[in-house]
Symmetry: C2
Subunit: 234 residues, 2 copies
DNA sequence: GAGTGGTCTAGACCACATA
DNA sequence: ATGTGGTCTAGACCACTCG
């Protein structure tokens, strides 16, 4: 880890450990420099990182303050680290409904930038949060990037498998959302009724190289899904 | 404007003007340094800014590439600059249903960190996107921060009024979302039926000082609201 | 190995907030 | 006026990618 990353972790941890409230003032830049024995730019970089994550905000001429402060029970859409929900806070489990290799259809080809006749893994999962049904997730992974996938992996976190075992360097994601009524099939899977409201989310996730490796369509149970976004004005 | 901001604008504009596609490689850091006659850190800062905005991605050892690429018709939840929707792309108009000064109730007091007996402006607006009904928005602004508001201002962009006339320095926002069925009253306003799906969004917007100045509850019309989020893995 | 972006330093100077 | 964070420089060195 780089110096600035270590410093960022240290500060974030100390906010967490001391349960500092929103608005609490942190030590100034100079004392952080001395404390960690690094140059000003390194402290600045560490603080910028924490600001991006939504942990602090900085005000020129005034100081550095704790931001954080989320309501209970909401899942962050752009989690602190990684897009998958905070697995520590919430107990999320997955039941694999289907897993197979298949040829990509047009929609999948377009979203994953695939050529003709390329194969993908198709995974359909029912995900639960603390035993409540959270969503149905249908995912596609190109075989050329994800050469192997099985039920055991899909029951856990596929993203953890990709980063840990396959050393994927996940970089960014495009997320599209809309609301609509449930159709008959999805309603049954979610144990709801046809016509009930649902949030439909599509995401394309990219490697650091810019290659898309995951296209997923997720249908959320309207009673058990609450989302949280920390926006910053760039 | 700072040097790095000007450089960031220039690069972003050139991507836009040349309609560069995702994955297009940009000039390397050294040539950008020479071209703008600045040091490496300044270029780095400019590129970091663009990366935060989702306009580019950088890959060590390889280059700088164009990211951008959004589907048509989706409103960005964390717009390029500012949280209010891209007003240039979409024609958003507001009809003021109600505007009055009142005492804050408990919910408003909590979200805006107000003391007992503080007054707020209450604004209820029906917002349209290209003549379709987009949402009902109910907003609260503390009078101590927003001493004046009228119908004419509320028919336009309140945020523009706050930043331009009152010189507000808007810094960040917390956004909470959930899905549910419409009640009778909201359904009528949105010209929908009771029980239809809706996205409910609550936002608290903060100044650079960390003071909250806006608490809004927004109910979106499910047929005319599509959202887009660009996530980055910090 | 050549080329690319990323980190880090030491120090000068600037812009803003607050009392 | 003082203190605080923000910008910028010049240059050294590091880490990754790719042919």
């Amino acid at each position: 880890m780089n110096k600035y990353e270590i410093i960022a972790e240290t500060i974030q941890q100390s906010i967490y450990d001391q349960k500092l409230e929103q608005g609490t003032k942190l030590p100034n830049v100079e004392s952080l420099m001395k404390q960690h024995n690094v140059s000003k730019s390194t402290i600045t970089k560490a603080l910028d990182t924490l600001e991006k994550r939504g942990a602090i905000f900085q005000q020129r001429g005034s100081g550095i303050f704790v931001r954080r402060q989320r309501r209970e029970g909401y899942v962050s859409l752009l989690t602190n680290r990684g897009f998958t929900a905070d697995l520590k806070e919430f107990n999320i489990t997955s039941e694999v409904l289907k897993l197979e290799r298949m040829n990509a259809d047009d929609e999948v080809k377009m979203n994953l930038h695939l050529e003709e006749n390329e194969e993908v893994y198709y995974v359909e999962r029912l995900r639960r949060i603390d035993n409540d049904i959270l969503c149905i997730e249908v995912s596609y992974f190109p075989v050329k990037l994800v050469p192997y996938l099985n039920n055991e992996i899909a029951e856990g976190s596929i993203f953890n498998y990709l980063t840990d075992a396959l050393k994927f360097n996940i970089s960014f994601a495009d997320i599209y959302m809309h609301i609509d009524e449930l159709n008959d099939i999805d309603a049954k899977k979610l144990e709801l009724k046809q016509g009930n409201p649902a949030l439909f989310l599509e995401q394309v996730v990219y490697l650091a190289t810019g290659e898309p490796f995951d296209f997923s369509k997720i249908t959320y149970h309207y009673k058990h899904s609450k989302f949280f976004v920390q926006a910053t004005n760039y």
